[in-house]
Structure formats: C-alpha cells, structure tokens
Symmetry: C2
Subunit: 437 residues, 2 copies
C-alpha cells in the first residue's frame, strides 16, 4: 500500500518546507495536496523538485491550481515543465491557457515537443482528437513478430505498448496486434498473418463521451483514432478514458443540481456563486409565476385558508417525482441504457410509474390530511395525484425530447423540469380544489 497514510502530517511537512524523503511520495499525492498549501509554499515545494517531477505534478494538479502556478512562473520555466510531459498531457494544459500565452510557451519549447502539442491543440478538447496521444507503436504489415517486439521494446516514448497498430503505406489503419499475441506467435510470422482487422476505432471529431462509452462497452484499454479517410492519428488510452468518465458523471450530477463546475470546492466563492445563479434565476422567475397563479385563486384561498397549508407538500411531491423521472432518463441516456429505439417504451413505463405513485399517494396524503384538516382530505389527495401524474409526464418527456433535439438533457432536466413542475403543481392542485369545493 503506497497511498499516503497520514495526509495531515504530510500537509504540515509540505507547509513548513520539510521535503525530506519526498521521492517516496507519488507525484499524484503531492498534486492532490497543493490546494492545501499557500502560493508561496507551493512555489517552494515545486522549486525543490527536479523539472521532470515538477512537470508531472503540474499535470496532475487541479485546473485552478494549474492555472495559478502557470501565472506565477516565468514563461521559460513553464515551457520547460510542459516540454517534459507527454504530448497529450502538455496539450491539455496549453489548451486551458489564453491563446497568446500558449503561443509564447510553445515558442520557448524545443521544436519536436512543440510541434506535436501544436497539432493536438487544433482539435476540440471535447473530441477524440483532443484526448489522443500520437505516441504509440505503428508498423506496417510486412514486419515479423520478432521485429515488432523489438520495435515495442525500443518505443520508449509510447504511452501504451500493449498493442501494436498496423497501417498501410497511406497511413490508413489496417488492424491491431496485441503484444501478447506477438509473444505467442512464431518469431518469423508476418504481422499480416496475425493481425486483427476488425478493429474498433473512433473518429477525430467524435465526442469524448462517446469515446468513453465505447471503451467502457468493449472493455478496451486503448482506442485508435482515425480521420475521415481512416488514416491513423493516435490513440486514446484508458487513463484519459477514466478521466472522461469521471468528468462526464460530474457534469451530469452538477447540471441536474443546477450548477456548472469542474471542481467546485476548489474554486473561489465568486466563481461558485456565478455558476449557480442561472438555475436560481430560473427558479425565481418560475416562483414569481407560481405567485401569479396563486393570486388567481385569491377567492378560494381567502374562503379556505387551509388550502394554502398543503401547497408545500403538493409542490414537494410533484417536484420530487419529476426529478426522479428525469434523473432516471438522464442517467439512462448517459450510460447507453436508453437508446432511441426505446424512447417510447421508456416514456410509457415511466408514466405508468407516475400513475402508480399517484394512486399510492392519493390515498396516503388523504389519510395524513385527514388528521390535520379533515374537510379537505379528499381534495388534497386528488390534487396531489394530479400533480404527480403531470410531473412524471413532464419529467420523462423533457429530457427525452432534448436528447432528440440534440440539447443536453441534464441541463434541461435540472432547472426547467423542477420549475415547470412547481408551477404546474400549484395550478393543478388549486384547480382541482376549485372544482371539488
């Protein structure tokens, strides 16, 4: 077990500048603790390390920490650090910098690294092209197994040596051979005889979420990336795929809760406030409309104030049923459980769930209300049931519709579904009450 045993002690050591035996602590552990150090403490620590380690720690650090370190160091020092990294990791850091700054850093880097990173920077960071690394073992089919093993051994830069990719003279992907099959093959066998031609690849422009979905589905540790003419461009490795999976899950979770953020607890209070405002503004406007709806029922409420007691429970139930439906749909779309051919089935089944719940809670809420204000027990029960049916319909339909329209369902499901259900819940409840009383 190499995980750091006592984090508090390590933080304290780093704070006071006790860097003894630091070589035993993995880079990633140090990177994770940077937010607990002041800027000056971070700088003292980084300067005490050799440039290779400094680069790796920078690369593993959280975006906001990364940005602040780069701002504090000289361009030449930044170029030196980034130049030490694998091209895809270096490009990830440069991507986040303003264009002018990233250009300055590239200019001060040695030309081989800067050329590779520059090429990666042309791709959308959200695409397979933005995730890939060009460093891998690329051979043609006339190599023998033995030659291929030698090539794998000598490919010191390659990030992933478990596979050798085979391309034709135009650089088009022909297939793949695993290192294991190379070892098992007759040393003089040609790659063309042991190649697997049916290879799952992704396109440069494919969104990173679909790259992760594919890797996950097929349990691959690397996926080759090709252009529109099937020319091999690089590979996306499993470490990046795990990062994407975590990012995509976070994005959905945060959007469903109505905030946008990468690592919210490491950001400034102001930036957090800004990211939560839009959702809350939608809530405020929706709440304002709910107030207008309630005002329409002024006479009913004045005649029967107790109707207002149950506004919170009706809204709460409708809201939560709606959130359950939309969350199930959003997550199902993300994991690939819900494919377009299943949309109508999903919709029908979720509405059936809503109907069953409305029946259960019509009875239960009537019972509870009976002990509080018996005269309106049935009214509240039926009003709540109507609210639940409506909420499950809206909660299921909105994310499915957004997916069809190519609009992020998580983004819609959070604010719009909740606010719509709040307003409609009040309206349905009071309308039902008006009819029944």
């Amino acid at each position: 077990m190499n995980d750091v045993d006592n984090v508090e002690v390590l933080i304290e050591r780093l704070r006071v500048g006790d860097f003894e035996n630091l070589e035993k602590i993995p880079d990633v552990e140090i990177a994770y603790l940077l937010p607990d150090l002041s800027d000056a403490q971070q700088d003292r620590l980084l300067i005490s390390l050799d440039k290779e380690r400094r680069a790796e720690i920078l690369s593993e650090a959280d975006d906001s920490v990364q940005k602040s370190i780069i701002d504090r160091f000289e361009t030449a020092q930044v170029a030196e650090m980034i130049g030490e990294l694998a091209p895809d990791d270096g490009a990830d850091i440069l991507e986040a910098l303003p264009d002018k700054e990233s250009r300055e850093v590239l200019n001060q880097m040695d030309s081989a690294s800067s050329k590779e990173m520059e090429e990666l920077l042309h791709h959308d960071p959200e695409s397979a092209g933005g995730l890939m690394t060009p460093d891998c073992i690329l051979l043609n089919a006339e190599y023998t197994a033995e030659e291929a093993i030698h090539a794998a051994r000598d490919a010191l830069d390659a990030e992933m040596v478990a596979y050798v990719y085979i391309v034709d003279s135009q650089g088009r992907l022909e297939g793949v051979v695993s290192l294991r099959h190379l070892l098992m093959a007759n040393p003089s066998a040609l790659l063309s005889d042991i190649i697997v031609r049916d290879v799952v690849s992704v396109h440069l422009d494919d969104h990173k979420s679909s790259v992760a979905e594919l890797a996950m589905k097929y349990h691959y540790v690397a996926l080759p990336v090709v252009d529109e003419e099937n020319r091999f461009k690089g590979i996306v490795t499993v470490d990046d795929i795990m990062d994407v999976m975590e990012e995509e899950a976070s994005e959905d979770i945060f959007r469903l809760a109505g905030t946008e953020s990468g690592s919210p607890t490491l950001e400034s209070v102001m930036s957090r406030v800004k990211k939560r405002l839009p959702y809350l503004l939608v809530t405020l406007v929706g709440g304002g409309m709910a107030a207008l709806i309630l005002r329409q029922f002024k006479n009913e409420i004045e005649a029967l104030v107790m109707l207002s007691y149950f506004i919170p429970v009706v809204i709460g139930m409708a809201g939560n049923v709606g959130v359950q439906c939309s969350t199930v749909v959003v997550r199902g779309l993300a994991t690939g459980e819900i494919i377009p051919s299943r949309f109508s089935k999903v919709f029908v089944h979720e509405v059936k769930v809503g109907l069953s719940l409305s029946f259960v809670f019509c009875l239960l809420s009537s019972l509870i209300v009976y002990f509080i204000e018996p005269s309106i027990a049935i009214t509240v029960g039926i009003g709540m049931a109507s609210g639940i049916i409506m909420a499950s319909t809206v909660g299921t339909a909105v994310p499915l519709f957004c997916e069809k329209m190519d609009f992020d369902p998580a983004l819609a499901a959070g604010p719009f579904v909740t606010t719509t259900n709040d307003m409609l819940g009040v309206l349905v409840y009071l309308q039902v009450a008006k009819w029944l009383i």
Copy 2:
C-alpha cells in the same frame, strides 16, 4: 468502426430469427439489445450460438435480463455457460442468484472452475475480493526475464498480461514487473534485479469505490489484491474498475434524486415504484409537517392572504440552493476532492456562497414581488434570504456530517436535506413575515 450502425435493423433481424452473419456483431452489442427481444426471441437467439458466445453474452447482459435467462434455462445449461467464463465474471453472475440455486449450478460445473468461483463468492461483492480475478501471472524473484516472458506467453488464462507479479515462498507480494520492462531487460537478468517493490495494492476487504478511486488516481490498469498478511490473492483489472466507476456514479446520481436502482429503465414498473417510495414518503411526512407549521401562522395568512402566494418561490429557492450545496459536497467526497482535512474549509466557503446568494436574491425577489404585491416586497425578500442562508448551511453540513459518521452522504443528501429545507424554509419565511408586519 465496428459499432453497430443500424440498431433498428439489427433488432428487427434478431426478432424474426435472421441470425446470418451474426459472428460479425460483437457479443456486447447483442447483449445490449436483449431487452428489446421477447423471452422466446432471446432463447431462440442464444440457442443458435455456440456455448462460448452464449456465455459471454450472458455475462455482458443487464442484471435483470441475466436473471430472467437463468430462470428459463436448465441448471445444466446454466452451469455450462457460467463454466465458460473467467472466474470473476462467473462469480458475478452466481453472486446474484439465491444461495441454493448458485450451489446447484456450481455442483454441475467442472471442479476447477467451480473451485475458483466458489472462493471468489466468499468475498463481499462490494469489496476488492469480490471484484478480483485470480488469473494472472505469478512468479518468484529467481526467474530470469526470459523465463518470465515465456511464462507470460504460456499463461493462456491470464486476463492481464501487462504485468507479472512477484511473490515470495509464502505467497507474499514482493513487487511487480511490467511486460515491457521484461522485454527491455537483459534476457538473463533476474526478476529480483528489475522488480518494482513499491507497489500500490489493495486489501481484500477494501470497498470497490476506494479501489476505483486508487486506480483512477494512479492511472493503473490493474491493482493487486492482498490479504492482511500481504499474501497475493488476485488482481482487479481496469474493465471491472470502469464498471465500478459507472455504478458508483449512477448510485450517487440516483440517491441524490431519491431512488435506488441499477438499470431503472430495464426494470419492471412495480420494482421502480418500490424503489422510489421511501424518498417520497419522507417528502410526504415533511410536507405534512410543513402544513402543521403553516397552520401555526393561520392568523397571519388570514390577515394577509398574499403571504401564501410566495410560499412556492421561497421553498423552491431554499430547496434548490440546498441541493446545489449538498450535490457539490457529495460529488466532491466521491471524487476525492474533499478530504477530511478540508471539511471545515468546504463548510465555510459553501456558507459564504449561500450568504452571497441570499444577498443577490433578497434584492431580486423584493424587486419581482414589488410588481406583484408591493406591500410585502421587503418581507418576502428578507424571508427568502433567511431561507437561503439556512438551506446552504443544512445542505453543506448534512452530507459532511454523514461522511464523518460513515453514513452514505448521497443517501442523506437527497431526501433529508430537501425535506428539511422545505420545512425550515416555510418556517423561516413566515416567522420573518410575522416579525416584520
């Protein structure tokens, strides 16, 4: 690109029993489409395939589909299928069966497979022991690099050949050598000379979420599993780690939304209803209490009915601010962004976010209310601000406290935080109104 291009066409083909060229469709694609076939169609398809493929498809299928297939097939057929699988995959399926059934299946399996699977079944499926596979390359340090390469080549059963693990005579883990380093080493070099001794391992009882977190942090494609005496027991491979990451993210997302489910849209309506009931019951009880609180303010509402118009917006804002805070904390705890030493910092910062938001929305809501019912604009504004401050405090504190108490923060954050904030929101709003008017 090997992903299935036209899913609809493939489903139709499978439905009508056109199984031509099915060997070109990957197992996992077929497994994913099983829910779109009737039981009879599934059976016809599975019987048409050889036993190896049938086993792989069963293993890739969703839990509910898996269960229904096993129920329909004879025990002998099930034993034959599961016997084809890697021990960890076989054990995963057996784990889900009732004890008696799983015993019957094991009895009909050949003894080598059944013994391995039985051993895995002793471990908690949520632990490293429940995830691991024993199939890997295990050598002692006196092997030469060349001998180790031969061993890797001949280890046909091994799931992961990228690493060779080195154990001492008592089976204790000494270190690891990558296949790549074996290839680069002098063929006659002893493993003891090229071994990496500082190896990150997990314990049999470690929870799968911490295994995934570790793999993710260190970007490892396999983690060795040891017992309390550091004896090597198996490895957890990256494919299982990706599954765990997806499951853990789903679990958090669903719990935050107040439902428990693996693949909700593939389950029966009844099972979905059952899983959502507990959360909704909490909401109902909380709503009942909110009604009791409102009744305490009967006189105030009767005197000023317009106070009731703004109950939805106050609850909505408090609820959503609370959800934002608790979601940020729950996700931060899951990704390792929030470690215990940061608890108080996270709390203080989130409450600052709440204070800033309360200031913004005190102004904005007063403005909006001014256009609806000017006489209570300030009252609503101050009531809402108080509700927001309280909600951000509760929303941040509850999941942090649960984590400290070793209780799942996601489970608490969903139902309890929302319901508490609904009740407190109403109380604070009306209390403020009572003071001000």
